[in-house]
């Protein structure tokens, strides 16, 4: 296995406030890495920095050989290499409201990668089928349920065939049955050799589907390791607080 993502010493400040204070983490190809932490710990900032949606002030990010440096976000024309390697699924899915599910998925292949419409449509239908929403291909986002639009959003992010997939709070709005189905899907994606970095509050989901977990506390990485180890034997006070918190189930006896 090789490194899909390496983050080293990542620092982000907004004015006087330090949001990330030197975070190191890496995601191997083929593994699911969960990023946990209380609200405001900096999970979304890590994802947005990796996706080059916001600048960072220190450290470095390397996605399969494509390096991001501190300072302003580079122009899009210089990020083309990164865009093909990193897919992102937004918390509210951010589907293009005026396009059908299928057109949401084919937009980037046709316009950013220059595929023919036929090739892009065939690839998109395959993805939608794998994700179990092919029957909704002609529907507009407003007509989709929360679970369906999440799957379309995943299909859209996968269309350029990225090595690294970022998911921001994917379990937040799902009921337990759908959560399980999502977990299975993500395991299949990892099985295809992709690296997945997921920000989440959902301890059970992490325990069941993640390979490793990283705990963020006030912009600092306080603990990391195999999911079961960290969750069953938390070493850091912040981790114990997080696991006892109102957002997770009461600990098993």
């Amino acid at each position: 296995m090789s490194g899909a993502l390496t983050v080293s010493g990542l620092c982000v400040a907004r004015g006087e406030r330090k949001i990330l204070r030197g975070v190191d983490l890496c995601v191997e190809a083929g593994e699911i890495c969960a990023l946990m932490g209380a609200s405001g710990a900096g999970k979304s900032t890590v994802l947005r920095s990796v996706a080059a949606l916001q600048p960072f002030d220190g450290g470095g990010i390397d996605v399969d050989g494509f390096a991001l440096r501190p300072g302003p976000v580079p122009r899009e024309s210089r990020l083309k290499g990164l865009r093909r390697k990193v897919g992102m699924v937004f918390q509210a899915h951010a589907l293009f409201e005026h396009l059908t599910a299928l057109d949401n998925v084919t937009l980037a292949p046709v316009h950013a990668l220059g595929w023919t419409r036929e090739k892009a449509s065939a690839a998109a239908m395959t993805l939608l089928e794998e994700l179990g929403v092919a029957h909704r291909a002609a529907a507009h986002p407003r007509e989709l349920s929360g679970g369906e639009s999440q799957r379309v959003a995943i299909a859209r992010a996968l269309a350029p065939d990225p090595l690294l997939l970022l998911l921001d709070e994917p379990t937040a709005a799902l009921d337990p049955a759908r959560r399980g189905a999502l977990g299975e899907t993500l395991r299949e994606l990892a099985g295809q050799g992709r690296g997945l970095l997921i920000s989440t509050h959902d301890e059970d989901f992490v325990r069941e589907f993640a390979d490793r977990v990283v705990i963020l506390h006030e912009g600092t990485l306080v603990e990391h390791g195999p999911a079961a180890d960290v969750l069953d034997h938390p070493q850091h006070a912040a981790t114990r607080d997080l696991l006892r918190g109102p957002e997770s189930r009461p600990a098993a006896p």
Binding site: R83, F90, A94, L95, F96, H98, A108, L113, H140, R142
Partner: protein, 497 residues
């Protein structure tokens, strides 16, 4: 001491009461005129702009004093004098009003008090070739709208294909003549000579095109006051005060003396068209409608074409301004904000004047082009605000999703942001277009005869707003109702997005 004070006070009160009751018995004589018409008719007194002066002012004073009342001036738009006097806004209308058959058919009209000539003004170079109206086939000839001169031009249009251009004032016809926008001006000799003195740059052909008379107009029901006014006018013709007034304003000639003598020698003519200098059909509604219908249809076409072109311009510029304000650098954004605020914060009427007359030294736009440009630039400011709001209403996450998918900024605008913004903007855009259709009536101030202006001309001629008003409203509704329906249908169809 106290006693004397009390007596003085009592006397003062008595005096005030007397004066007051005197005034109550003889209310002031309200007379209406248009000070915008200017000297020597009626103009604001340069020494005290709250007062008016001019020969019409002095004649109104003579009439008022003659019937034992104080004159009080009421400002009214020249083209509305007839309607206002019939409504009772004032009792006498005077402001270089021309004696016409329709005027006598609809109102009580005084004896003529001044004889004028319609004269042709041309550029000096054209002195030899444009001597009379018939020389001007296919040429643009300007005059004041709803006047005898305008009717003469319309008649000549039917005969020789001359192009009448109607203005709302009597200054700009001459400045446009000098500027080359029109080839001749037909107007009263008093107006022509005044413009020649003030600005010059043209010549007046010696041979008058027609002769007419100025009269005072009264409400039809007010014939008694008219008879008293006639008696006053005749007395002032006899005793020379009218002549002195006209001399003072520099509009007296020997021919005017002959006219006075002729007038005094004949009994006043009341109802027939004998005094009307131009023969015109009596405007019964059906016949007038048939006459005016082609003109109304053409004017409706002008309104529609003008509105569509102005809207196309407004949309194009509006999109660019909105894009500049959302994507541009700070300097550009500030400049565009100034543009939008100036255009929205000043009257479109003023903008039309500036574009047509104000810029005529720099660029001499034809009236129609100036109208399209003026309305287009004004509405572009409103359109740009709609597009800017629509662009900013598209969720940021969708734009970020576009970036993570590798779309360029241009592609995101074209494929993601633009199409959704357009849907949000379409309903307000349609509403703006309906508003623009109606605002297009303002361009008559720069001589474009569109639907409302043509309706006003029609109404002035038939002396009623009922039929013209209904016709005009029906045409506007025929344009705007389908658009409103279209906007609602779009909103329903795109309610999901």
């Amino acid at each position: 001491m106290t006693h004397r004070l009390a007596r003085a006070l009592f006397t003062a009160i008595l005096l005030v009461t007397c004066c007051h009751s005197l005034h109550a018995q003889r209310p002031p004589l309200r007379w209406g005129g248009d000070a915008e018409g200017g000297a020597p008719f009626v103009e604001a007194d340069p020494a005290d702009p709250s007062r008016v002066r001019g020969f019409d002012v002095e004649i109104a004073e003579m009439i008022a004093r003659g019937v034992g009342r104080e004159p009080r001036f009421i400002q009214v738009a020249w083209s509305s004098i007839e309607q206002s006097v019939e409504r009772g806004d004032f009792e006498v209308g005077m402001s270089g009003l021309e004696d016409r058959a329709e005027l006598r058919a609809r109102h009580a009209v005084s004896i003529p008090y001044y004889e004028f000539h319609e004269v042709l003004a041309v550029r000096p170079a054209d002195r030899g070739r444009f001597r009379r109206l018939s020389d001007l086939a296919g040429r643009r000839v300007a005059t004041l709208g709803a006047t005898m001169a305008y009717q003469m031009l319309l008649d000549e249009q039917r005969r020789s294909g001359l192009v009448p251009i109607s203005y709302d004032d009597d200054v700009h016809p001459y400045s446009d003549l000098v500027a080359g926008r029109v080839d001749a001006v037909l107007l009263d000799n008093i107006i022509a000579e005044r413009s020649l003195r003030r600005a010059g740059g043209f010549v007046i052909q010696p041979e008058p095109a027609a002769t007419g008379h100025y009269v005072a107009v009264f409400a039809r029901a007010n014939a008694a006051l008219r008879d008293s006014a006639d008696a006053v006018l005749r007395a002032r013709m006899r005793d020379g005060s009218l002549e002195r007034t006209f001399r003072r304003w520099g509009v007296w000639s020997d021919a005017e003396g002959d006219f006075f003598r002729r007038t005094l020698a004949t009994a006043p003519v009341r109802d027939v068209a004998a005094q009307a200098p131009i023969e015109r059909a009596s405007p019964t509604s059906g016949r007038a409608l048939r006459t005016y219908l082609p003109a109304l249809v053409r004017a409706a076409g002008i309104t529609l074409v003008l509105s569509c072109l102005a809207m196309a311009l407004a949309v194009s510029i509006g999109i660019l301004v909105a894009a500049g304000r959302v994507y541009g650098p700070p300097v550009l954004r500030a400049l565009l904000t100034v543009y939008v605020e100036v255009m929205r914060g000043t009257p479109v009427l003023l903008q039309l004047f500036v574009i047509y007359y104000g810029l005529s030294g720099v660029v001499r736009l034809p009236a129609f082009a100036a109208a399209v440009l003026g309305l287009g630039l004004n509405y572009a400011a409103y359109e740009s605000e709609i597009y800017r709001a629509a662009l900013e209403a598209i969720p940021r996450a969708q734009l970020e999703a576009g970036r993570t998918l590798g779309l360029s900024e241009g592609q995101i605008l074209r494929l993601v942001r633009g199409p959704q913004a357009l849907r949000l903007a379409l309903a307000p855009m349609t509403n703006d277009f309906v508003a623009l259709l109606k605002d297009s009536s303002l361009v008559s101030v720069i001589t474009v005869v569109e639907l409302t202006k043509q309706t006003a001309i029609y109404a002035t001629n038939v002396g009623s707003w009922v039929v013209p008003g209904i016709l005009c409203s029906l045409v506007y509704l025929a344009f705007s109702l389908p658009l409103s329906r279209f906007a609602r249908a779009l909103e329903r169809r795109w309610s999901w997005g």
